[in-house]
C-alpha cells in the first residue's frame, strides 16, 4: 500500500537504527507521547531492535486511557436512560466504569451505537427526533476538530436533540506536568504526529527552551519512529534542546489553521482530570457559552453530580506518567488482562498495558526466523 509500505521497510528501518547505534554514547530515556506510537513500536517489535542505551517510556497520549473513570460512569448513566441514544467511538465501549462497561449497558437494553465519525451521530439525531442523541466527545486535539464540527453542524441544522459529553484533553499542559515532576526523568520527548498535524508544533518551542529538553515531532510507522528517535538522540548527544519535525510529510509548524479555528469556535480551555494522574490546569476543552446548549452535562443535570474514585489496584496512572512499565504492575497479566481490565490502559488498542500484553508478553523467548522456501 502506497505511503504505508515505504515506511515499514526493513532495510530503511535497520539503517536508521544503525545510525542511532553510531550516534549514541550513553544511556538516554525517551518518551513517546502518543499511544498510537506505543502500539506501533510494540506491534513492529522496534523496541527489541534498539541499542541497550535507549530506553523508551510510554507517555500519556492514549485518549481512552486518560478519560477519567467519572466520565465513564457519566457515560454509562446517560446510555442507560431510555430517552437517550448514546453514540461513541468503538474503543470506549469496553472501558470499565466503576461497576460495568458500555457493552453491558447495551446488553441490558441501552441504545449504544458505534460510529467512526461524530458527523454520523447527526444523521442518527435526524432519524430519531424523539430521542436525545449523546455523543461521547473524547480525545486529544486530533479528534477535537471533527467533534467541534459536529456541534457547529448541529447548531446550523437546528438539531435540538443532539448533545455531547465532552472530555477533551490537550497535550502541552500534560507535558509540562511531566517535565516538572521530580519523579519523571525523561531526557527527550517524541511528540504525537497527529496532534501536531492539527495544532502545529510552535506550542512546544517554549517548553523545549524552558525545560531544556529536545522535543521531536514523530510519526507512527517504524521508519518514522526510527527517524524520530535518531533525531532526538543526536540532539541529546550534541547537547541541543530544540523542537524538530521528523514527520514533515504531515506536520507544519503552524498546523492546520482552519481546524484550530473550529476548535476555538466551539470549545475553550479548562482544567481537566486525567485518569490516574489527576487534575491538570488548562489541559482540556469545554463548551463555550454560545454552544452550552449542546453540553450533555448541562442537559442532564443528574449526570453532573456523579463523582467516582479510582481503583487502588491499578497502576495505570504511574504507567501513563512513564514511571512504571506495564509489566512492572503486580496485577499485569494476572488480575488485569484485556478480558478483565482493571484500567483503561489495558483496554484501548493504544493503551500501553494492552500493547504489552498483546505483543510483548513473551518477547524474550521469541526469535521467529525467516521461512526459507
Amino acid at each position: 500500500m502506497k505511503y504505508i509500505d515505504e515506511y515499514r521497510d526493513e532495510a530503511l528501518t535497520r539503517s536508521l537504527l544503525d545510525e542511532i547505534r553510531v550516534a549514541v554514547t550513553r544511556p538516554w530515556k525517551l518518551m513517546e507521547v502518543c499511544g498510537g506510537q506505543t502500539h506501533s513500536i510494540l506491534r513492529s517489535g522496534l523496541d527489541q531492535l534498539l541499542p541497550p542505551e535507549i530506553e523508551l517510556v510510554h507517555g500519556p497520549g492514549c485518549p481512552v486511557c486518560v478519560t477519567p473513570l467519572e466520565l465513564i460512569d457519566k457515560a454509562i448513566a446517560l446510555a442507560s436512560r431510555p430517552d437517550v441514544i448514546f453514540v461513541s467511538y468503538g474503543d470506549m465501549l469496553r472501558v470499565p466504569g466503576s461497576e460495568r462497561d458500555l457493552f453491558s449497558v447495551k446488553a441490558a437494553g441501552g441504545n449504544v451505537r458505534v460510529v467512526y465519525s461524530p458527523l454520523d451521530s447527526l444523521k442518527i439525531a435526524r432519524e430519531n427526533p424523539d430521542q436525545t442523541i449523546v455523543f461521547f466527545g473524547i480525545g486529544f486535539e486530533t479528534t477535537a476538530p471533527a467533534n467541534a464540527m459536529a456541534v457547529v453542524q448541529a447548531k446550523k441544522q437546528g438539531l435540538r436533540n443532539f448533545a455531547m459529553l465532552v472530555s477533551h484533553v490537550t497535550v502541552p499542559p500534560a507535558l509540562c506536568v511531566l517535565m516538572e515532576s521530580p519523579d519523571v526523568r525523561v531526557n527527550g520527548f517524541l511528540a504525537a504526529g497527529h496532534v501536531c498535524t492539527v495544532m502545529g508544533y510552535w506550542e512546544y518551542e517554549p517548553l523545549a527552551k524552558k525545560y531544556r529538553v529536545p522535543i521531536v515531532v514523530m510519526g507512527f510507522e517504524p521508519v518514522d519512529i526510527a527517524r524520530g528517535l535518531l533525531m532526538c538522540v543526536k540532539q541529546l548527544e550534541e547537547g541541543r534542546a530544540e523542537v524538530e519535525n521528523a514527520y514533515a510529510r504531515s506536520v507544519r509548524r503552524e498546523g492546520n489553521v482552519p481546524a484550530q479555528a473550529i476548535i476555538n469556535e466551539v470549545f475553550k480551555p479548562c482544567d481537566r482530570p486525567w485518569r490516574g494522574i489527576g487534575v491538570i490546569p488548562q489541559s482540556g476543552y469545554k463548551f463555550r457559552e454560545a454552544y452550552a446548549e449542546f453540553d450533555a452535562e448541562l442537559r442532564f443535570p443528574g449526570v453532573q453530580a456523579i463523582a467516582t474514585r479510582e481503583s487502588s489496584l491499578c497502576l495505570s496512572g504511574l504507567v501513563l506518567q512513564g514511571l512504571k512499565k506495564p509489566n512492572q504492575c503486580p496485577a499485569f497479566g494476572k488480575e488485569c488482562t484485556p478480558q478483565t481490565p482493571l484500567g483503561a490502559t489495558m483496554v484501548s488498542a493504544e493503551g500501553a498495558c494492552a500493547a504489552y500484553y498483546r505483543y510483548g508478553r513473551y518477547a524474550a523467548s521469541l526469535q521467529p526466523s525467516e521461512v526459507s522456501a
Partner: protein, 370 residues
C-alpha cells in the same frame, strides 16, 4: 460418560471472565478470548464428552460407536471403519445481502467448509430458517434461491429443514442455522491437535476479505472500491489437496477471529508453537487500506472462503502447487512453521524483522479512535 459438572451461578468464584459479565455481551460471540472462556467454563463442563473434546470445526464420529463409547459386536463390518463428520453453525449476519454474497450462500458454505476441514466429503445439510415478521417475501425468495444454488455448487443435498417466525423486532430479518454430515475417506486423519514441530503452515489465499466486506457496508463506510466477501465452498480445494497427500495434519477455515484465532487454536490444541512471517501473508490492497483506516489488524478479520493447512514439510511444495492450480487457492502461500519453541503461542516475524506475539482477539473488533 460421567455426570455433567453442575454449574452454580450463585457461588461463582471462578472464572473471572464470566463473572465480570452477568449478562451476555456481543464479545461473547466474537470468536475471540471471551467466547473461548464461555465455551471452556460454561458449555464444555456441562456437555462434556470425548467427541466434543475434539474441538474441531466438525466432529469426527466412527459409525460403529455407540453413545456410551462402546463398539457393539454386531456392527456390520462394512460400517466398522466408516467415519462421519458432523457439524452445526448459525448465521446472524447483517445485512442479509452484502457485496460478494448473502446469508444463504454463507450458511451453506460455512457448514460445507466445517465438514471439509476434517477432510470429509460433505453430503447432507439441514437448514433452520428463523424469520422475522415483516421480512419481504422477495428477500426470503432470493436467499432460499441462493441456498439452493450454493448446495448445487458444493455438491451437497439439503435433506431436512425447519421454519419458525418470530415477532417483529425479535430478529434481524432472518437467521439461518445449518447442520451438515459428511464422510471421511480412509487414511485421512486431520485434527487440531496434530501440528508437529517442523510442519509447514499454509494459507489458501488473501486474509480479511469477508470481514471488511461486511464492515464496509454495515458501518456505512464509503470506499471507492467495493470489497467483496470471499464466501466459497472449500470442499473441492480440500479434495484437490488430499489427492496430493492424505497426510495433512490440520485444516481450519479462518472465519471469526481470522488467521490469528485459527493459529492460536491450533497451537493450543497441539501444544506447539507457531511462527509466521507477516510479509508472507497475502492481504488484498483494498482490505489492507480499509484496515489501516479503521485501525484493525487484517490477521484478526474474518474470512469465509479461506483455509489454513498444517502439513509435514516434505509435502509443502506439492500441496502449494495443487492449491495454486485450484481456483480457490490461486494465492496460496507458505507463511510459517510449527516449532517446538514457545508451545501454545503464536509469534510473527514483523515487517521490520523483529518479533511479536499474535494473541487471540479479546472480544469484538473495535475500531480505534484516531
Amino acid at each position: 460418560m460421567t455426570a455433567p459438572a453442575r454449574v452454580n451461578f450463585s457461588g461463582w468464584t471462578c472464572p473471572l471472565p464470566l463473572k465480570n459479565y452477568p449478562a451476555i455481551v456481543m464479545g461473547h460471540g466474537s470468536g475471540g478470548q471471551m467466547m473461548a472462556d464461555l465455551i471452556q467454563h460454561l458449555f464444555a463442563p456441562l456437555f462434556d464428552n470425548d467427541l466434543l473434546a475434539q474441538l474441531g470445526d466438525s466432529t469426527v464420529i466412527g459409525l460403529s460407536r455407540m453413545a456410551d463409547g462402546s463398539s457393539p459386536d454386531d456392527t456390520p463390518s462394512a460400517l466398522r471403519d466408516t467415519r462421519i463428520a458432523f457439524t452445526t453453525d448459525s448465521f446472524v449476519v447483517s445485512p442479509l445481502v452484502f457485496p460478494g454474497g448473502d446469508i444463504g450462500e454463507l450458511a451453506v458454505n460455512g457448514t460445507v467448509n466445517d465438514l471439509a476441514m476434517s477432510g470429509a466429503r460433505p453430503l447432507f445439510l439441514s437448514a433452520g430458517f428463523i424469520l422475522e415478521e415483516g421480512l419481504p417475501m422477495e428477500t426470503l425468495g432470493k436467499i432460499a434461491t441462493s441456498v439452493a444454488a450454493a448446495c448445487r455448487a458444493a455438491g451437497v443435498q439439503l435433506v431436512a429443514g425447519d421454519t419458525k417466525v418470530v415477532n417483529k423486532g425479535h430478529g434481524d430479518g432472518l437467521y439461518l442455522n445449518t447442520s451438515g454430515l459428511g464422510v471421511i475417506p480412509p487414511g485421512v486423519d486431520i485434527a487440531p491437535n496434530r501440528a508437529r514441530p517442523g510442519d509447514a503452515v499454509i494459507v489458501s489465499g488473501t486474509m480479511g476479505d469477508h470481514g471488511m466486506a461486511i464492515m464496509s457496508v454495515r458501518e456505512g463506510l464509503e470506499f471507492e472500491t467495493v470489497i467483496e466477501s470471499d464466501t466459497a465452498p472449500l470442499n473441492g480445494l480440500v479434495q484437490a489437496m488430499l489427492a496430493v497427500t492424505p497426510d495433512i495434519h490440520c485444516l481450519r477455515d479462518a472465519t471469526r477471529g481470522g488467521l490469528a484465532a485459527v493459529l492460536n487454536e491450533l497451537a493450543a490444541a497441539s501444544q506447539a508453537g507457531i511462527d509466521f512471517e507477516e510479509r508472507r501473508v497475502p492481504v488484498r490492497a483494498e482490505v489492507h487500506a480499509a484496515c489501516e483506516m479503521l485501525g484493525l489488524d487484517p490477521f484478526y478479520v474474518a474470512n469465509e472462503g479461506k483455509l489454513v493447512a498444517i502439513a509435514p514439510e516434505a509435502h509443502a511444495e506439492a500441496l502449494l502447487a495443487a492449491m495454486r492450480a485450484h481456483p480457490l487457492g490461486r494465492e496460496a502461500a507458505l507463511i510459517g512453521r510449527v516449532t517446538a519453541e514457545h508451545p501454545g503461542l503464536v509469534a510473527a516475524r514483523t515487517l521490520i524483522g523483529s518479533s511479536r506475539v499474535v494473541d487471540l482477539p479479546a472480544g469484538e473488533l473495535l475500531p480505534r479512535i484516531c
